[in-house]
């Protein structure tokens, strides 16, 4: 089985979000970048398949040279090779078209991507990629097993979960649950050394046009100070929720 794991290079979850250049760009100053958490669950599951069933795992990112450190980390965790498509990931449709080209040329059976990235939160690339390729697709996947060319996936639904069967080739949008958090791997020294000699191929983008563009960013309006209510005066809280906030 040939697995492709799509990796977004995103600000760490604790990063302060600021903008620069007239609020048109994300300010990367002092920001630590990581593998998008939803992607890391998928990567870990892919490596599990590699160890259990002898799959090969390729990681891919659409982005600039700065994303290479994140790809090297994925290699250190256990991926076999990496691909970077040399283009700014400004629009989900554009990114999906780049990835579709990589999948077609590489003949992958299983593509795993995160349900959404923690920066743009679009939640669109995996579905778009599947539609472009004509592959089966499961969104919001919290469990995945593959047996030959058939796959069983469990997805989260509002208020529960649903078990689905699908056939490879397949695109999976993964999230927490695909593996447990405690099973995520921290690269060890051996992995880091090995990653240095693994192939990282740089591809030039295909000429797809973007369907959207980000015009500018805004930060939420500053919040007014909290109203503190004494624990001995909870009637006041009920009163405020009813008459002021009007939520009960």
């Amino acid at each position: 089985m040939k697995i492709l794991v799509c990796i977004s290079h995103v600000p760490d979850t604790t990063a302060k979000i600021n903008f620069t250049n007239g609020d048109s760009e994300f300010d990367t100053n002092g920001v630590q970048f990581v593998i998008n958490p939803n992607d890391e669950f998928g990567l870990t599951r892919a490596i599990w398949f590699k160890e259990q069933a002898g799959a090969t795992v390729t990681v891919v990112n659409v982005g600039g040279t700065d994303a290479e450190a994140t790809l090297r980390k994925a290699l250190a965790i256990g991926a076999d090779e990496a691909i970077r498509v040399n283009a700014a990931p400004t629009d989900g449709f554009f990114v999906a078209k780049q990835l579709a080209e990589v999948v077609k040329n590489g003949g992958y059976d299983l593509v795993i991507a995160g349900k959404e990235s923690l920066d743009y939160n679009g939640g669109m690339v995996p579905g778009m990629l599947a539609a472009l390729l004509g592959f089966d697709f499961v969104n919001g996947t919290i469990k995945l097993d593959v047996n030959g060319s058939s796959a069983t996936a469990v997805r989260e639904i509002d208020g529960g979960k649903e078990t689905l069967s699908a056939t490879l080739p397949l695109v999976i949008a993964g999230q927490k649950g695909l593996v447990e958090e405690k099973d995520l791997r921290i690269p060890n020294m051996r992995g880091i050394m090995a990653a240095r000699t693994k192939a990282l191929t740089i591809l030039e983008p295909t000429g797809a046009t973007a369907a959207t563009k980000s015009v500018k960013f805004e930060k939420p309006a500053p919040k007014s100070a909290v109203k503190l209510i004494s624990p001995d005066n909870l009637d006041e809280l009920v009163n405020l929720l009813h008459n002021e906030a009007k939520v009960i």
């Binding site: 449709f93 499961v138 919001g140 959207t212 980000s214 939420p220 909290v226 503190l228 909870l234």
Partner: protein
């Protein structure tokens, strides 16, 4: 030209988000001088949408669509959009709609924006404001394609009633076997409990509750509010509560009217996940807890003392006001 909404339903009835979507669509239709068409699948009472401004309902009745199938529904929506020459196709942010929307965007060669808050900032050029960076910021996104697909964020547009009636038209899209290759084998739904996705009020507990045996206090308060229960990441990591209750940046997002956080310090990742909730109440013993900085109302004190009292007060309030 018209605006098409995918009116999500369950067991033959529209979900509340279908009415919100209709209200939203009507507002854009009025601004741009067009009409609203809704697509409904296996729904009996379609006139319910007329009260929120829908002009026309395309009714699909098909047993093959009784079990959820994203690819097949995306195919139906694509055909409906083409039949109506829809320039804007709208989805809610329910799990199923978010599964379908990207497939429809590709089928219609349309730019797609999700997590949209409020009405478009401008319709020419077409610009919408959306949540980004896990609710820590907004981005103004311009969609440059002829057809636009939008998913409207939870609780970001209310219900607006409109007088009128809707024309109903039976619609029989052509479906092929290829649409049904992913099959639902089984589904498990918690019954009789309010889900985090649908809840108007969410009561959430953190490590301050000291152990899973104390969760009855959270459940009682939630029951008094008619709320869903949720928890912080450490609580789900410790196994006190199931992962499905974990809310935050890497868990479920919450966009409720009221979010009550008990014994949660308010790590930046937790706040990011719940920040689209309208009103936040924080109960914490530590007056320095960062959560108080983003809360609307705060109570500093012992949760074990406050929760039973607050539960009684909410019960009394509900009894009086129902």
């Amino acid at each position: 030209m018209s605006i098409l909404i995918y009116a999500e339903s369950a067991e033959g009835k529209f979900k509340k988000t279908a009415f919100e979507l209709a209200s939203y669509a009507k507002k854009i239709a009025a601004q741009t001088g067009t009409t609203v068409t809704a697509l409904s699948i296996n729904v009996t009472d379609n006139q319910a949408l007329a009260a929120y401004g829908v002009d026309k309902v395309l009714k699909v009745t098909n047993d093959k669509l009784k079990a959820f199938n994203a690819k097949a529904i995306a195919d139906v929506i694509k055909q409906a959009a083409q039949k109506e020459s829809a320039k804007i196709v709208l989805f809610s942010s329910n799990t199923d709609s978010l599964y379908i929307a990207p497939l429809v965007a590709v089928a219609l060669e349309a730019g797609y924006a999700s997590n949209v808050v409020g009405l478009p900032e401008s319709t020419s050029p077409f610009q919408v404001k959306r949540h980004a960076f896990s609710n820590k910021a907004f981005t103004i996104t311009e969609i440059t394609t002829d057809v636009k697909v939008l998913a409207i964020g939870k609780n970001s547009f209310g219900l607006v009633e409109a007088a009128g009636s809707a024309t109903e038209e039976a619609f029989s899209p052509s479906l092929n076997d290829n649409d049904f290759t992913v099959k639902v084998e089984s589904s498990e739904k918690v019954s009789g409990k309010v889900t985090i996705a649908d809840a108007e009020v969410v009561v959430s507990g953190g490590r301050g509750l000291k152990g899973p045996e104390n969760w009855g206090l959270i459940e009682d308060l939630a029951a008094a509010f008619g709320a869903a229960t949720a928890c912080s990441k450490p609580v789900s990591d410790l196994g006190w509560r199931p992962h499905s209750e974990h809310v935050g940046q890497t868990g479920k997002p919450v966009a409720a009217n009221l979010y009550v956080a008990v014994g949660i310090s308010g790590a930046i990742q937790h706040i990011a996940g719940i920040n689209s909730s309208k009103v936040k109440v924080v109960i914490n013993a530590d007056p320095e807890a960062p959560f108080f900085k983003v809360a609307d109302y705060g109570v500093v004190g012992d949760a074990f003392d406050i929760l039973p009292k607050l539960t009684e007060k909410i019960k009394a309030f509900k009894a009086q006001n129902s």
